[in-house]
Amino acid sequence: MFENLALGFAAFGDPYVWLGLLVGALAGYLIGAIPGLGPSLGVALLIPFTYGMDPVVAIVMLVALYAAAEYGGAITAVLINTPGTAAAVATAWDGYPLTRQGKAGIALNLSIIGSGIGILVSSMLLVVTAIPLSELALNFGPGEYFALAVVGLSLVSGLSEGSVLKGAIAMGLGLALATVGLDTQTGIPRFAYNPEFFEGFPLVPVLLGLYALSEVLFMLEDGPTQKIKSQPITGILAVPFSVYWKLRGHLVRSSLLGYVIGVIPGAGASIASFMSYIIAKKTSKEPEKFGKGSYEGLVASETANNAAVSGAMAPLLALGIPGSATTAVLIGALMIQGIQPGPLLFTRNPEIPYSIFASLFIGVPVMIVIGLAGARLWAQVANIPRPAIAAIVATICLIGAYASSNSIFPVFIMTAFGIIGYVLRKAKIPLAPIILALVLGDMMETNFRRAMVISRGSYDIFYTHPLTLVLLVVAVLAFVVPLVNDLRARRRA
């Protein structure tokens, strides 16, 4: 393991890898600081720029963007009470009151350093857990793999925003999209009404359409935004070590909690930050300060949401199962580079997972410096006129889709999915399960069919193998429990 870890760090001997890290970090801060643009949209928008790049440079850049977007989301939450990402909502609860008390610099320092500690601790956990997890997964048969994919999808659909039913619909739509194209086992074209569809739905245009272009339509809805008055930032470098020493318990606990929640498919950074905030308040000696400018509350939320980034990487790298919208987009980026995440990744392409580990470690001081040094600038980012952002996003979508295969077909796909994404979001149907199912669909069907061949067409393979059975029971519970809760809540209402 240490040999491979050294291989990951050695990748940083290449200046292009450093360049990728810096570009990803800067783009991530930019995306994170703009309210409404999250890490998934950011990663989707950056994918077209990685065509033809070395896979290590490309993946380091995308992971850096993912992590930096979570850091960046806190800056506008603290300074102007406008969380850049959903995971930074709890950060604003104490960050903005601190700003109003004239402690904006301290609040930014705590949130940025807390984020760094969260990433650092959780990255160590990632290194320790991802490799044994991948070794365990090497023993999985097709039945277990199928069940694992079902668990991932069920958790994401069950935990997604809105009703469980809508999560299930989104999952079904994604799986249906994944079946379009030539059947890999028989060569029969399925649902391919045009030869362009023989290779299935191209992933990049679908991602750009659903996440980025639909957001452009939402920006058209909002119209031009008002200029935000930002607050003065003083004392950003004047936080003594003793403050952190007092907060050490919260920093460690929130890092651990964030990592564990990040590992669970569908949970993600937002849930991690809310849970960490609630636990910090319950265990605090000064709970009355929460919501009024508590250092503990700020650090708990920010540390946990960044720790969830490394957590989300564990199932992605070790099992090939993305647990969140952003990791689903990342898996798409890996596939475009010809890399298949999963247990074999650690033996076939060890430079990829170990470079990711190394980039998370090396990225911590880089992100902290960029965050602290550029805090004033990132705060101004929220003032970029909304029409200009809409034009930038739409333009990158257009060229990115065209460049994915140098033809106009993906542009039409991207446009169609942009409009579909807008309508689905209006009907409160979540988009994350669609992407996850589209990414996992092929693997799920292939393993389903392999399992059925092994059992000679009998479904008993799915309940006679203990691990498969346990995973499928978890998948069913992931749907049934939120559904029952949903129905109870409706009855009460």
């Binding site: 029969i188 649902f191 058209l220 119209g223 006129p385 909304r386 200009a388 257009l398 059925m452 061949v453």
Partner: protein, 167 residues
């Protein structure tokens, strides 16, 4: 029936925003998707059996997926119809500046249609100007300079740095 609950929220126009009870949108979207899933199921059913007797064939997985999705859609539509008949919907779908959004959709389709015919630079510049206009930008300097810089940088990055041939 409670008259206050049976108000037609779609009549309200709050600061240029149109609102619609969510159940109506759920019924429309649900029925539209049911038609699509119906076609999908019909085509899945028509897929031939595998030559390998122990393989379940190309159609089994799509059939399972299609049936499960259709059931979920039917449940959503049924739930929405129940809310409709009960007249107790308080969830709203809000549509801001609908005319501009529709114009934006038309623009996105148009840029896809003319992209190869007209070429990348004019389409990038033109669509950036029009999207900014649709988004409410009215300052002439911003409307000219932003698309100009944007077109130049995007075109240069993709053509010269990434080596991608654009029309």
């Amino acid at each position: 029936m409670d008259t206050a609950k049976t108000e037609r929220p779609e009549d309200h126009d709050d600061f240029g925003k149109k609102t619609l009870p969510l159940f109506r949108l759920e019924i429309v979207v649900g029925l539209a998707l049911l038609v699509v899933v119906g076609i999908y199921l019909r085509d899945a059913w028509a897929l031939p059996e595998s030559m390998n007797p122990s393989d379940v064939g190309a159609g089994r997985f799509p059939m399972i997926t299609g049936v499960a999705t259709a059931i979920a859609l039917l449940l959503m539509v049924a739930q929405a119809c129940r809310v409709w008949s009960g007249g107790r919907e308080d969830r709203l779908a809000v549509f801001g500046r609908p005319a501009w959004v529709l114009a934006g959709m038309a623009l996105l389709i148009l840029q896809a249609v003319v992209f190869e015919m007209v070429g990348a630079i004019p389409v990038l510049f033109g669509s950036a100007v029009l999207i900014m206009l649709a988004c409410g930008e009215r300052r002439p300097a911003h409307l000219i300079l932003t698309p100009l810089v944007l077109t130049a940088s995007i075109y240069s990055i993709f053509t010269y740095a990434l080596g991608i041939q654009l029309p």
